[in-house]
């Protein structure tokens, strides 16, 4: 994999321009001198267009030369000593195509948001987070080593949570954002754990071992058990990021953000980031049948669950989100089966289509009225196939499950959140008791006090 100089420059420009935009807008925010809307919009569209053009050109050059996968190395970043972080991108046609698509979609959303959020108090904050997200997506798409992948993964996660809490004067978006972020942290922890294990087992953090085109080389240094654990951790990371079961419950909560951010995150790009990672890690999955089975099972279960749930949603964004999740589940099944090209084409098409649906969601009633005016009647309702082939009892059961979104929130609360909080509070009381044991107070603390007496 010889680095190609023009390709390296194009990729650098492609990734660098959104990063510079992020630094510029973020720096202005830190010193409390946000740029005027006009400038922000101009910089954002200029940056996205440049990025998209550079990455598209890189894709054309790569396709023309047809030399396969390139590892583009930009040297060690953090230290001149052994260890530390190297800036490396692993580029092939698929990764470049996904990166170019990300930049193009970000450009469209940026242009849309400029009007949609005009004179909104969080206008500047929105564009800072959008720039952070695009930088993160491009890093995820092109990452050549674990560190670069993780930087992108974290950028996507944090910007997503902060955009869910965009309307921060309301309580619901903020508490939902925390919930979303907590699932993302599970994803981050799983991804980093996989990276730690990979580095421990194979002695490298280069993703060419996992993502490399030469399938025989992908598992050279990985034994069966280690490869299985790494693959399973990757699937957990993907499942949490792409809202696969059992992590699907955060998706409707994430709809609290502004519509353009919902479109770019949960309609087109962020929700597919997990699928893309899985697609890149396909050579590893091929060596681990258990992981493929798990991925396929999760994808199928998610597709069915989301397909049923989307039918009972009462708001358009949640309905679209579950519809998107149905397709994401199917894409994961395709990857598990080994239809990589089909999965990638499906991913790209779905990302574009769902983006359009999300962006037009605020106008859905207007569009419907227009359609009624045009045909002179109400459009005939679609669907109803599932209802026709199921009994009343099954329908009622499915309706209840769909209405409660699979009871996923309450199950996770009961199995994970509540025990964790109970244990942590008990330990807090233990700490107080330790102080009391050293210096007694008039009101001694007991470890077994009830929850009501917690802070």
């Amino acid at each position: 994999m010889m680095p190609s100089v023009p390709l390296a420059w194009m990729v650098l420009v492609g990734v660098g321009t959104p990063a510079i935009l992020f630094a510029l807008l973020g720096g202005a925010s830190i010193i409390n001198r946000p740029l005027p809307e006009r400038w922000t919009a101009a910089f954002a569209s200029g940056s996205m267009m440049t990025s998209c053009a550079a990455l598209s050109l890189a894709l054309v050059v790569d396709a023309a030369t047809g030399t396969g996968t390139h590892l583009l190395s930009y040297g060690a970043w953090s230290t001149s000593h052994e260890g530390g972080i190297a800036i490396e991108f692993l580029v092939d046609q698929r990764s470049l195509a996904f990166a170019a698509l990300s930049a193009a979609i970000a450009g469209v959303v940026s242009a849309f948001s400029n009007r949609y959020l005009h004179r909104e108090s969080g206008y500047n904050r929105y564009f800072v987070l959008l720039a952070m997200f695009v930088t993160g997506m491009l890093l995820v798409a092109l990452a050549g080593n674990v560190e670069v992948l993780f930087i992108g993964w974290e950028f996507v996660g944090l910007s997503s949570a902060l955009l869910v809490a965009f309307f921060l004067e309301r309580t619901a978006p903020v508490s939902n954002a925390l919930r979303v972020f907590s699932v993302y942290r599970i994803s981050d922890a799983a991804l980093l754990s996989a990276a730690v294990l990979l580095r421990h087992v194979a002695g490298t953090d280069s993703l060419s071992l996992l993502f490399g085109g030469t399938r025989a080389a992908s598992a050279v240094d990985l034994t069966g058990t280690n490869a299985t654990i790494i693959a399973l951790l990757l699937i957990v990371a993907v499942a949490a990021k792409s809202a696969l079961l059992p992590f699907s419950s955060w998706l409707p909560r994430a709809m609290e953000g502004p519509t353009p951010s919902s479109a770019v995150y949960y309609g087109s790009l962020s929700i597919h980031a997990g699928c893309f990672l899985l697609l890149r890690a396909a050579p590893l999955l091929e060596h681990v049948p258990a992981a493929r089975l798990l991925a396929g099972g999760l994808g199928a279960a998610t597709a069915i669950f989301a397909g049923v749930t989307t039918r009972v949603q009462s708001d358009v964004k949640s309905s679209l989100a579950y519809a998107a999740l149905t397709q994401v589940g199917i894409i994961v099944v395709e990857i598990a089966i080994g239809w990589y090209t089909v999965a990638f084409v499906h991913l790209v098409g779905h990302a574009c289509f769902r983006l359009l649906q999300f962006l037009s969601a605020p106008n859905v009633l207007h569009d419907l009225h227009g359609m009624e005016d045009a045909i002179g009647d109400r459009p005939s309702p679609s669907g109803g196939y599932l209802e026709a082939v199921t009994s009343d009892r099954v329908r009622r059961g499915l309706f209840l499950i769909a209405l409660e979104r699979g009871f996923l929130d309450s199950v996770l609360d009961r199995l994970v959140v509540e025990p964790f909080i109970r244990l942590a509070r008990r330990l807090t009381r233990l700490d107080r008791w330790l102080c009391d044991a050293v210096i007694p107070t008039r009101h001694p603390v007991t470890i077994s006090e009830g929850e009501a007496q917690d802070e």
């Binding site: 720096g27 925010s29 830190i30 010193i31 409390n32 970043w77 953090s78 230290t79 001149s80 000593h81 052994e82 260890g83 530390g84 972080i85 108090s121 560190e147 993780f150 930087i151 974290e154 950028f155 944090l158 949570a161 809490a165 921060l168 004067e169 309301r170 309580t171 903020v174 508490s175 954002a177 925390l178 972020f181 907590s182 942290r185 599970i186 981050d188 922890a189 980093l192 754990s193 730690v196 294990l197 580095r199 421990h200 002695g203 953090d205 964790f420 909080i421 942590a424 509070r425 330990l427 807090t428 700490d431 107080r432 330790l434 102080c435 050293v438 210096i439 107070t441 917690d454 802070e455």
Partner: protein
């Protein structure tokens, strides 16, 4: 008189000047201005010292407190301490620049300068006795800050825990410096005593209960100033790391990693912002101790880097809470307080410093944690998983605090006429700290390379001691053989290599 000596005198004179001025009848606000000017000057001077390699070879050795051949460096500037000097100055500047006016008094400014002087002195010595004396002085300063009637219980808690720590440290140092203590059971006992003393001071589980209590119900400002420089970590680097066995270091690392996860998990469920800060501090400071496990040069360099990033980021985070409390009173985390729109700089600073604590990419903490995990992964993979878990939990805890303190319901005091905006001095200080944390996160090389150099020196010293310990019995045997045999001179030459 060398250049380094002059620089040192200058560094020490600045806090001393503020201490002296505090005894005069100077207006408190004017005294604060003097303290800010002195802290800025000290920071600039310390940065010059840190950036000048020719000043890093300064040392004044003495045999007054040690029986070791050649004595020990009572005052020295080396690769380790050179970067710690601006760190101490930065913490002082942060303290005096953003302390709310209501909490400002002459005694507080004096104590702050004194604490900085003590921290500076600690970072400049490798003498166990001098470190002990400075440790006693710092505990005394901290206790004097808790002398008001409202904090008597916390004062007693601190006195009990840190008194115990100081007692163990004293006995440990006394055993360590006695003649013939080297390479004996006495030295090992002394090391264990000093280790426990350092663990208590750093708030490592199971010696941690005083930390959240003092942060929550004690005085937050003095608690930050006492904790953030992490003199306990310095004690570990200077006294324990060169002498400790690998098992001893592993025990410290395991306890520290447990504390890191424990602190992060408990910070997540607290309903008091101050107590959450206490647990966050425990978690962060424990990561530094874990990095001192010496599994490799890279891991140690990572630990030293986390020391700087966690110290600065945590101090900034806790100061944000203090600044917010000055405007709103005591803050709980069970409700949303709102107010982002009125204090965007404070909110962004809080978030950035919190993210630096979690090792978020683009901040200095990320580089430190990355090196820590990278260096320890072969010899001690558990560290990698523990750091990942602690980082995930810390991130959640920080975001929860951010949402609770700055988001949610509209500010009920929005139209009350209360001034919420930061003063220019506060805004500049927080902005500069955030830019430093992000700037060194984006361009970390100079700092990372300096930590590698320090790490090399520390491990080199440790290797020398291990080598000396291994070869000493052979040398002694050679001397014995030489004394008892006619051809002893020839045989003694080959003895060390046996």
């Amino acid at each position: 008189m060398s250049d380094a000596w002059l620089w040192l005198v200058g560094l020490v004179a600045l806090p001393a000047l503020v201490i002296g001025a505090s005894f005069l009848h100077v207006d408190v606000e004017r005294l604060r201005r003097l303290a800010v000017a002195s802290a800025v000057s000290m920071l600039l001077a310390a940065l010059i010292v840190a950036a000048s390699p020719r000043l890093h070879v300064f040392s004044i050795r003495s045999s007054a407190f040690s029986w070791a051949p050649g004595g020990e460096a009572v005052i020295r500037i080396d690769t380790l301490s050179a970067v710690l000097l601006p760190f101490a100055a930065g913490l002082w500047l942060l303290t005096v620049a953003v302390t709310p006016r209501a909490a400002l008094d002459r005694g507080g400014l004096r104590r702050t300068a004194l604490a900085t002087l003590i921290t500076l002195g600690s970072f400049l010595t490798e003498s166990a006795v001098v470190l002990l004396l400075l440790s006693v002085a710092s505990v005394w300063t901290f206790l004097s800050a808790l002398s008001d009637p409202a904090h008597q219980y916390q004062r007693r808690i601190v006195a009990a825990y840190l008194g115990f720590s100081t007692l163990l440290f004293t006995v440990g140092v006394a055993l360590l410096i006695r003649p013939g203590a080297h390479d004996s059971t006495v030295e090992r006992a002394a090391m264990w005593l000093i280790v426990i003393a350092a663990l208590v001071r750093k708030g490592i589980v199971p010696f941690h209960a005083w930390v959240p209590e003092v942060f929550d119900h004690g005085r937050l400002g003095p608690a930050i100033l006492f904790s953030a420089p992490q003199v306990g970590a310095y004690m570990t680097v200077v006294l324990i790391v060169p002498r400790a066995s690998p098992d001893m270091l592993r025990v410290i690392a395991v306890l520290a990693l447990g504390t890191s996860v424990y602190g992060a998990a408990l910070a997540l469920v607290q309903t008091s912002a101050r107590r959450a800060c206490g647990y966050l501090f425990m978690s962060q400071s424990a990561l530094v101790m874990a990095g001192l496990d010496c599994t490799s040069v890279t891991a140690l360099a990572g630990g030293l880097l986390v020391w700087l990033s966690a110290g600065l980021a945590f101090a900034g985070l806790a100061r944000c809470v203090l600044v917010l409390e000055a405007r709103r009173g005591r803050l709980g985390l069970a409700t949303y307080h709102g107010g982002y729109e009125r204090m965007p700089v404070l909110a962004i600073s809080f978030l950035c410093m919190g993210l630096a604590c979690t090792g978020f990419p683009g901040t200095l903490g990320f580089v430190g944690e990355e090196l820590l995990v990278d260096g320890a992964i072969d010899a001690f993979p558990v560290m990698g998983f523990a750091v990942v878990l602690a980082s995930a939990l810390t991130g959640l805890a920080v975001l929860r605090m951010y949402f609770s303190l700055f988001c949610g319901r509209p500010d009920p005091l929005a139209h009350s006429g209360v001034r919420f905006e930061l003063t220019r001095r506060e805004a500049w200080t927080f902005g500069a700290l955030v830019l430093a944390l992000i700037g060194f996160g984006i361009a970390p090389r100079p700092l990372v390379d300096s930590r590698f150099a320090a790490s090399d020196n520390i491990l080199g010293l440790r290797q020398l001691r291990i080598l000396a310990r291994e070869t000493r019995p052979a040398l002694e045997r050679a001397v014995t053989i030489r004394a008892g045999s006619p051809d002893g001179a020839r045989r003694s030459v080959s003895a060390p290599s046996q």
